[in-house]
């Protein structure tokens, strides 16, 4: 058998941030109490009508521009008709005739190479209710019904799980950078349908496409690897006709994909244009207005951080991984903090603090202005780096400005004369130890430093202290 290559395309669904749902005034927020963020439309009470959330439309258009798609002249929606208990209206309002973006592409980095992923289309739609099947009943939670979703459909252009994961990660960051979605994997805000086929390396026609539906972020790599193996194995055994155009699902427990239905039984969604939402014109002025809100993205920022600010690849990568961390970093620089110092604080203490607390950097108490107070004090030698760490922890815990802890009595002592006096005093009372040190007992040096620290309650500048002690006893 010739060498096989995989051809993969994905449909990526991502929940958008907004105050209210995409077509109703109910709150778009996660709630543990079922059926609290709902309004009559979300449960399809008779006579209720959809009202489009303009913010969601703007965000969808923004993403369309970011992905270099073409925007349609008119914005309108379609109904996708099918019966399911989680679909209260019996149809989903989505976009099939004229999606908010078509024919786009985006360059991404995968294993240190740049690849281009084609975007077939991106469209705005509503989520369904959440359905929980229990032993003898099923429960419906309409909180999720009507949550805005952006569905991004790639062309079949990727060839490995690595590429797909890199793509998803890249897009996830873009959502975050545009501040249109938290794109939070832990909250299941990203779900994918994955289309996979294999073909001979030199073939021009795609093989039989298998669709794996509704895969959580955590299952995507497994799905792709499993499906490629499965299809190649069948082909190598001469049983490629058993690869059917079908819909499968990922089974987390067994690490396999399981057949759901054949494409022959595919549902006819009987799309037609949603009559309750009038078409509206997407003007150039609107697009220009939205374009102003597009931020500088991760890849560009990373290059900037390395080339302009002299960060190393690792630190730059950690910082751009979260748009708000990157914003924090840039604010630090704007405040005049040295870029490398800021980067070390951010990738070290700050990252571990916010990870430990499970919070976003936006909710992190120590704003760049406060961080600057600590760094400035450290630079002036007013505090030791040990003290800086302590002040950092205290300020975060007690939610007080670091300046409160940088008072005159805990400031580092850098007055050489004063330190020298203390050292002379100590040396005068410890002649035996000086001799021991000079005879080779080098660890006695730390004893003298310790004594100075004891005398100054740890406030003596350790560098000055050490220098002075060396001058006096290294004879």
């Amino acid at each position: 058998m010739k060498k096989q290559i995989a051809v993969i395309g994905i449909e990526m669904h991502c929940e958008l941030k907004s105050n209210s749902k995409v077509f109703s005034s109910a709150k778009n927020a996660y709630s543990v109490i079922p059926n609290t963020n709902i309004n009559p439309l979300d449960m399809a009470f008779p006579g209720t009508l959809p009202v489009v959330n303009l913010k969601c439309v703007r965000d969808a258009l923004k993403m369309s521009m970011v992905l270099n798609c073409k925007q349609p002249e008119y914005m309108f929606f379609d109904r996708k008709n099918y019966y399911y208990p989680d679909l209260p209206k019996g149809y989903q309002i989505t976009q099939s005739t004229s999606p908010v973006g078509v024919d786009g592409s985006i360059a991404i980095e995968c294993n240190n190479k740049i690849i281009t992923v084609g975007i077939h289309d991106i469209h705005l739609e509503e989520d369904t209710a959440k359905l929980d099947h229990l032993d003898n009943m099923s429960l419906l939670d309409y909180n999720r019904a009507g949550i805005p979703l952006l569905e991004l459909v790639t062309t079949p252009c990727m060839h490995s799980a690595d590429e797909v994961m890199a793509f998803i990660e890249h897009i996830r960051l873009m959502y975050q950078y545009c501040d249109i979605s938290d794109a939070d994997i832990r909250k299941g805000q990203i779900r994918c349908d994955v289309n996979i086929s294999i073909m001979d390396e030199d073939a021009t026609e795609f093989g039989t496409k298998v669709e794996v539906k509704g895969v959580d972020f955590s299952g995507i790599r497994g799905t792709i690897d499993y499906e490629i193996d499965r299809q190649i194995k069948l082909k190598s055994e001469g049983r490629y006709d058993e690869v059917e155009q079908e819909t499968r699902r990922w089974d987390e427990a067994s690490g396999t994909t399981i057949r759901m239905r054949s494409k022959v039984d595919a549902i006819d969604y009987k799309y037609f244009v949603e009559p309750n939402i009038p078409k509206f014109r997407i003007t150039q002025a609107l697009l220009e207005d939205i374009r102003k809100e597009i931020p500088v993205f991760a890849l560009e920022r990373k290059n900037l951080y390395i080339n302009k600010y002299g960060l190393d690849e690792t630190n730059a990568r950690i910082i751009i991984k979260d748009r708000f961390v990157a914003d924090y970093f840039e604010k630090c620089i704007a405040l005049g903090i040295d870029a490398k110092i800021a980067a070390n604080w951010i990738t070290g203490l700050i990252t571990s603090y916010i990870n430990k607390e499970g919070i976003s950097v936006n909710d992190f108490y120590l704003k760049p202005e406060y961080l600057k107070q600590i760094i400035d004090a450290l630079n002036k030698g007013e505090i030791s780096s040990k003290q800086a760490k302590e002040i950092f922890a205290k300020a975060c815990d007690e939610k007080k400005e670091p300046a409160n802890y940088i008072s005159s009595d805990n400031k580092q002592i850098s007055d050489e004369k004063y330190i020298e006096e203390i050292i002379d005093n100590i040396l005068a009372n410890n002649e035996e130890n000086i001799i021991a040190y000079q005879n080779g007992k080098t660890n006695m040096f730390d004893f003298f430093v310790g004594q100075v620290m004891k005398e100054t309650k740890g406030k003596a500048n350790p560098i000055i202290t050490k220098e002075l002690i060396h001058q006096k006893i290294d004879k």
Partner: protein, 487 residues
Amino acid sequence: MAYMNKTIEEIHDALVNGEVTSEELVREALDKAHTVNDEYNAFVTIIDNAQKGEVTDELLSGIPYAAKDLYSTKGILTTGSSNTLKDYVPFIDATAIKKLSQKGAVDIGKTVCDEFGMGAYGNTGHTGEVLNPWDKNRSCRGSSAGSACAVASGVIPYALGTDTGDSIRHPAAYCGIVGYKPTYGMISRYGVLPYASSLDHCGVLARSVKDCAIVVDAMKGIDEKDMTTWDSSDIHLYTFLNGDVNGKKLCYIKELCDIDNYPNATLELKEHLKIFKEVLEKIQSLGISVEEVSVNRDLINAISSVYNVIAYSEATSNLSNMTGIVFGPRSDGSTYAEMMKNFRTKNFSPLIKRRFIIGSYVLQAENKERYFTNAQRARRMIVDAWNGLFAKYDAVIAPVGSNGPAKYLDMSKNITDDSLVPLEEHLQVANFGGFPSISIPDGFIDNLPVALNITGKCYDDENVLNIAFAIENLLGYKGQIAKEVSK
């Protein structure tokens, strides 16, 4: 003394002058509603505990009205005349209902219609057929049958209807009253049970053009809950009515109005078209010019099919929420699919199920281009043709239907003559284009009322109503209360 058979202005004056109280009016309307319901089956619900409304400067304040049972009324049974919602009590008011309440109007009942507004004869509602107050053997036509019946019987001065094909204008015509559907989006559809959203209109049935104007003035307005509404704050239907129509130009369509189109014309049809032609002569005395125009016959013939395809497609989707899961009497079943199926099989009437199947069929991938997409194209062509007429004429005038009210016994015969279909269904064009359209009585055949229709261009409701107002004054069929022919 009775007041419910008077005009809104007369009743308002009586209230303001202290001749009568709102409480007394409500009592009178409720009593009459019960009587009429016993005779003609016009109401699903008579709101016996309806409270008087505060009398203010508002013309509608303190005056009772009724609403088609498609309008959601908070805390009051709203069935859509369907078994699927036979016990459904909404927790929202339709915007139109809310607006009327704010003006002090008093809803005293919910009227019977064809199930979810689907049906032409007022006989598919879950509480049974509505009888015509002019002749119990005949239909009021539909779907706003109960509203037409109640207004024509003098229960209330006006009732709300909905109109997807002709559902206000037909029953109004066959009950001898006025039926007006304003431009699409002038009245919010929020809270109104849908049939086919792109064709559905709210409107009113009353006994005079002026009363229609007063009521729609009160119901209309932009609504943040219905994106298809538009700002009509500079349209004042009531104050615009002055009867001055000198210089207005009307046209009538040869392919609809010429008796030669109907080789098998009945005596009734001949009489109907004769009355219409006489009216065309008469109204020239108002300074209106009338011209005959021709419209492509293929377009005229397509109207009914275009309506069926689009309306049934939207209906099958709009009513997909009727599963019995969230509301309605939940059916048994071992799976959700079975539950839904049982609910829909048991509770929808055969007519609706037939329409769902047609709607579903024409939307199927393999049929969609041939039926649904072509129907959309034809809709556009028909609307363009009418807009072409509106470029030259203030309105199109036409006879309503092909005869007087149908006898229930004869209904099966109604669709046997294909040549009559365009005349029966042409009012649907106003739904295709969202045009303002009003039917007013224009005479009698065998003592049963017949009507004409005036349809104008979008947003030109003031002109359309003023023309209808002038013609109404000339013809003298204003304020008719049904008189049973057999009595």
